[in-house]
Amino acid sequence: TISSNHWILAWAGLEINTLAVLPLISKSHHPRAVEAATKYFLVQAAASALLLFSSMTNAWHTGQWDITQLTNSTSSLILTSAIAMKLGLAPFHFWFPEVLQGSPLITGLLLSTAMKFPPITLLYMTSSSLNPTLLTIMAILSTALGGWMGLNQTQIRKTLAFSSISHLGWMAIIITYYPKLALLNFYLYTLITTAVFLTLNTTKVLKLSTLMTAWTKTPALTAILMMTLLSLAGLPPLTGFLPKWLIIQELTKQEMAPAATIISLFSLLSLFFYLRLAYCSTITLPPHTTNHMKLWHTN
């Protein structure tokens, strides 16, 4: 999808992506994993169909299938909603936490990072013809919902899903004005999220109460996990602050200061649950307890 210029190839790439990841989600054959795979398939297939429909409408009106030449306004609207479904932008985000909760941690990492890359590339390539108002509304809604719904979660995979939705909001708001910034945000988000997921995979932590006792196994790793989570939250002087700062700067330059303020305020909600994760992993020291046999390792 990333290297294609023709809509049909891009759509084919997205479909191959969906089908390839489905066995990874349902690897354990637990009903919950199968449920997650089914939900993922249905949403992604619907989004791919919408994408194909938008490219066909564009080809009907303009006579060409070039991705960068999406000039028909209806097509760009349909494309925006299709990509929003693919990414998990609000209001099409409902599938994302459930799918992440049902899949293993590494597959969750893939879903949050690698599977978002093709849709973001498509947005990047068509950024000049997208509707900024729609994207701004979706972005603010994503940050708000990602923040609010992540607040009461005890399962870490669902929390990370909401953090992903929140970050996608930041990417979506800037994509029409400065697309390279959205890509930068995505790369940094991928890097930091990969670190978080891999740390959680090493310590086999799936819920908050297990996270509290992870420091007994790998004290150094949990200390770094705190820094990584605060970086995801966007606190200076950590790396995660850089894309937020540049996005706010660019939005202010584009006379969108109220939007910048609103999106920053909603990010405070997600800061709360990042802080809670950091608090559980590193800042408090519960008594020595072990909950799961698999968590012991002797290296």
Binding site: H30, P31, R32, T38, N152, H292, M293
Partner: protein, 303 residues
């Protein structure tokens, strides 16, 4: 609305005599008492005297009251959401090691449970529930009768069970339990020596799995002393429609909706049974290290 009800009632009265009227032919399915596929009635079922839509109460005032109760429930849910996950503060989620789910201290607590027995299929077992002495426990008692109902298709009979009603939120939405902090079920019971089966039904996403039940056994002592029985969730095995499945998996309790817990007795012995239950709770047994008791090895190893 009242006019429609009167019209239907009038039509059903006239249905017996004037069959050639067009209105009657249109209202045919509403007036006939037969089920859509078959009119076979199981031996234990009562004959239906009222048509199914006549059971609905169309009064306006009742609707408004119902709406008010549901809105109050919604308000309470919103307030609980503000407090933290599951209505409790987050610190409770981190620190809790026990939680009482159901206890039997009043008639209201008894109303949260539903009794059933093989009377549904035409058997003769009896089951009753009442509050025990000093309102400190629930007494589930009755008589098990393994006489098979003579309807030509039933081979076994003789079971009684008690199931909890699933929790519903406002507007009859499913409520999700998060039991992931716990790994055992804790029961304080006083039985009569008969073995019971504890069943957990987690409402699954797919309708194919609606008969899936996670079960385990509870052996009671029968003495005058109370027993505290701990059943780890790793021991529950999966069965569907009563048959133990080959592909076993542990029960996931992080998002169990419409969850019902049930106690069944079906040990093929005729006679009376009694079970007193003080409370049912959850326990995070720190000494229990098992993830899943059945087939923990990898089945699809590469050749």
């Amino acid at each position: 609305m009242a006019l429609a009800v009167m019209l239907l009632n009038g039509a059903s009265f006239h249905g017996g005599c004037c069959r050639h009227k067009v209105l009657l032919s249109l209202l045919g399915p509403l007036l006939s008492n037969s089920k859509l596929y078959s009119s076979y009635r199981r031996p234990g079922a009562e004959p239906e005297k009222k048509l199914s839509w006549q059971n609905a109460d169309f009064s306006f005032k009742k609707g408004i009251d119902h709406l008010k109760t549901q809105l109050n429930l919604l308000k309470k849910e919103a307030q609980e959401y503000l407090q933290g996950p599951g209505g409790h503060p987050v610190s409770q989620c981190f620190l809790e090691q026990t939680r009482v789910l159901w206890q039997f201290r009043s008639q209201e607590d008894l109303n949260k449970w539903v009794l059933s027995s093989d009377v549904e299929i035409g058997g003769k077992s009896k089951v009753y529930i009442k509050l025990g002495r000093n309102n400190q426990a629930a007494l589930l008692y009755g008589t098990l009768n393994t006489d098979v109902p003579r309807d030509g298709e039933t081979k076994y009979s003789g079971y009684c069970s008690m199931r909890s009603r699933p929790a519903v939120g406002s507007f009859n939405r499913k409520k999700y339990y998060d039991w992931s902090n716990f790994n055992s079920l804790y029961l304080r019971v006083r039985g009569d020596g008969r073995p019971w089966m504890v069943n957990i039904y987690t409402d699954p996403y797919f309708s194919h799995q609606k008969d899936d039940l996670y079960s385990y056994f509870m052996f009671t002592r029968g003495g005058p002393y109370w027993e505290e029985i701990k059943i780890p969730f790793s021991k529950f095995f999966l069965s569907s429609r009563g048959r133990v499945q080959d592909n076993q998996h542990p029960v996931w309790l992080d998002k169990a909706s419409f969850l019902t817990l049930g106690f069944t007795i079906g040990d093929k012995v005729d006679g009376p049974f009694q079970l007193e239950i003080d409370f049912i709770g959850l326990l995070n047994d720190r000494a229990h290290r098992e993830e899943f008791a059945y087939e923990p090895y990898d089945k699809n190893t590469p050749v």
